[in-house]
């Protein structure tokens, strides 16, 4: 490893300081606060708090509502990550084939990313609300008893669709860049070697896209876990019942709506551990199969 020599010992720290400050203020401090609060029990008016040790954790982990939320999150996150990535990959591959107006299509594809989550949620709500949704009536005419306000599965499908739609753009952008980085001659060599387009996609293109796919897997998982709060809040509010209450939504609900600060803090600590574990797992076991060119 090359060692860079700075003219003064303090200079490197000075250069790092802004980034360190941001990380400290916006991650370590709140994380420490959450950790501290997860050990406390507050009275309903927030006037006093007592140390209760791990009681909050014990209570949260034995709460059937919490376990339900874990399940909802797993289904939701896995579906969003998988769908957002596979649809984006499909679209990116199709966009590669376009000869005229490539830039125009790409620009159009990227727009949804610029829409704020809550707005995206409203958009989907307007389309699929059972009473005033533009597309709800056609669905009912087709014989589907569409009602995300009452039917748990319908509600789940709706937020998955909205969250996926918003993330496709981002994934699309990265897949297009990834596809462009694959030398054309490799696909030509495969064509001469006798591979059909489908076969060369799965044996050449897809494996060579692995670094991009892996990066997106990590990003999409985090997206589905955290950044979809706005969509869920706007579309279902966690309902019907608790059918679409993900872990993040429950943290918000218990802490800021029901004002059970201690338990909410315990949940966010658990969530942090889950995300760290998940990301570590992805790097440890999936990245090993990634070939970096």
């Amino acid at each position: 490893m090359r060692r860079t020599v700075f003219p003064h010992r303090l200079l490197p720290w000075l250069l790092l300081a802004p980034q360190l400050a941001i990380t400290l203020i916006f991650f370590y401090w709140p994380a420490a606060q959450a950790f501290r609060q997860s050990m406390l029990k507050e009275d309903p008016f927030g006037l006093s708090s007592t140390f209760v040790g791990l009681a909050n954790f014990r209570k949260v982990l034995s709460d059937p509502n919490y376990l339900n939320s874990v399940q909802v999150t797993a289904v939701f996150s896995a579906s969003v990550a998988f769908l957002a990535m596979s649809i984006a990959l499909f679209l990116a591959v199709q966009a590669e084939k376009i000869i005229r107006g490539k830039g125009f299509y790409r620009t159009l594809m990227i727009w949804p990313y610029a829409v704020a989550p809550a707005i995206a949620g409203m958009l989907w709500l307007f389309m699929f609300n059972p009473s005033f949704g533009t597309l709800a009536r056609p669905l009912r005419v087709m014989g589907i008893n569409w009602n995300p306000l009452l039917n748990a599965d319908h509600a789940m499908i709706l937020i998955i669709a909205a969250a996926t739609w918003k993330q496709i753009s981002y994934n699309f952008l990265f897949f297009v860049a990834g596809l462009q980085a694959i030398p054309r001659s490799l696909l030509e060599a495969a064509a001469i070697d006798g591979a059909s387009r489908r076969h060369s996609f799965w044996t050449i293109t897809f494996p060579l896209l692995a670094p991009t796919t892996f990066f997106l897997l990590v990003v999409n998982t985090v997206y589905a876990l955290f950044d979809t709060f706005g969509i869920i809040h706007a579309v279902t509010g966690g309902g019907p019942g608790k059918a679409t209450e993900t872990l993040v939504y429950k943290v918000y609900n218990d802490g800021f709506v029901n004002l059970i600060m201690g338990e909410s803090a315990a949940q966010s600590v658990i969530l942090m551990v889950i995300v760290i574990a998940l990301t570590a797992f992805q790097f440890r076991f999936i990245e090993r199969r990634v070939h970096y060119g």
């Binding site: 030398p183 030509e188 060599a189 495969a190 064509a191 070697d193 591979a195 044996t203 060579l208 070939h291």
Partner: protein, 354 residues
């Protein structure tokens, strides 16, 4: 193995023609080299044979079958790319076996084929390595191996040696020649290097600006270049070509010197003289005076670069290695009348029968 037949093959990109009708009949087992400067369309022509570029008009037959509209995989050809195009995520073994697996060859047979090619190309120790762990020469051999194992009916190579250093290039050139003798496969080889072209080819296609200027054996191309372009392109150092005025009994060279060459059609002509066919003139012999501007001594030979005295027509001379001539000297040389090349000044075609 197969005969390849090109009949007036053309290529246009949105109305802009880049290949202007090329016809050649390549019999089974022949080694044909397509040579020309960069941008002459030689790679495009090869890619059209491979099926990587569509043919705008004309027909292409491989093994007696018109393949214009067939996909590359249906043409039974193998190709070596300039950048080798090895699959970076596969080992050498997997790279070579890729095509065979697709062809659904039984596993043990694939093993045997790969082992055979690896032995021939001395790649056995590297079979389990990824391409990035190989040197340029080894990668080149893997690319050859990948093409060889499939035993295709035709073998296409697109500047396969241009990324190698000079020494390795000579080695690989010999290896390619030997491999062709051993397998006897019909081969099309694209290069801009005239040494590769001359040494490998049974026949040459010399291309310029999308036109096949000459299709002939290397020796014919050297001895009787069909156009002024071919004359200047093939041969090293390049042929000296300049404009002369011919009249009965002789020609007037640039600088006003006269040479008693008879039988040339009267008028303005382009005269070509190869450096190796210019000898030091003996006293009294009609000669061309050349003012030397620099002399390169290569040991066996020396090359003198200068101009015809009194003009700015460049002349390159091949002198004996022991020559005393140096910069600033005037050297008198006499052309060998057996080796005159005369070209039409308007279209550059070779003029014969004078």
């Amino acid at each position: 193995m197969a005969r390849i037949l090109l009949n007036d093959v053309r290529k246009s990109y949105s109305g802009n023609q880049v290949i202007h009708g090329i016809s050649i009949d390549i019999p089974d087992g022949e080694f044909v080299v397509i040579v020309g400067p960069s941008g002459c369309g030689k790679s495009t022509l090869l890619r059209m044979v491979a099926g990587l570029e569509a043919i705008t008009s004309g027909t292409l037959e491989i093994g007696g079958k018109v393949v214009n509209d067939l996909e590359p995989r249906e043409r039974d050809i193998a190709m070596v790319f300039q950048n080798y195009a090895l699959y970076p995520h596969m080992s050498v073994r997997e790279n070579m076996a890729y095509g065979l697996k697709i062809a659904k060859m039984p596993k043990d047979q694939i093993e045997a084929q790969v082992a055979k090619a690896a032995r021939m190309l001395e790649l056995e120790p590297y079979l389990d390595r990824k391409p990035r762990a190989l040197s340029g020469g080894q990668r080149q051999r893997v690319a050859m191996g990948r093409a060889l194992v499939r035993e295709p009916s035709a073998f296409l190579l697109d500047e396969p040696l241009s990324n190698l250093d000079a020494k390795l290039r000579v080695q690989m050139r010999l290896q390619i020649k030997e491999m062709h003798l051993r397998t006897g496969q019909t081969t099309l080889y694209v290069t801009h290097d005239q040494v590769e072209a001359m040494t490998l080819a049974d026949r040459l296609i010399v291309m310029n600006k999308g036109v096949a200027e000459q299709i002939a054996t290397p020796l014919e191309v050297y001895q009787t270049p069909a156009t002024e372009f071919v004359a200047g392109f093939i041969g090293s150092p390049a042929m000296n070509i300049f404009t002369v005025e011919a009249e009965a009994g002789g020609v007037t060279l640039p600088g006003g010197h006269r040479l008693p060459l008879s039988g040339l059609p009267a008028g303005s002509l382009r005269l070509g003289l190869r450096p190796e066919h210019l000898n030091l003139a003996e006293t009294g012999q009609p000669a061309i005076p050349v003012d030397l501007r620099s002399v390169e001594r290569l040991g066996a030979d020396a090359f003198g670069y200068g101009v015809i005295a009194g003009s700015d027509a460049a002349m390159t001379l091949r002198l004996p290695g022991t020559t005393q001539a140096q910069r600033g000297d005037r050297v008198d040389v006499a052309p060998d009348p057996q080796h005159l090349h005369v070209f039409d000044p308007t279209d550059g075609r070779r003029l014969e029968n004078f």
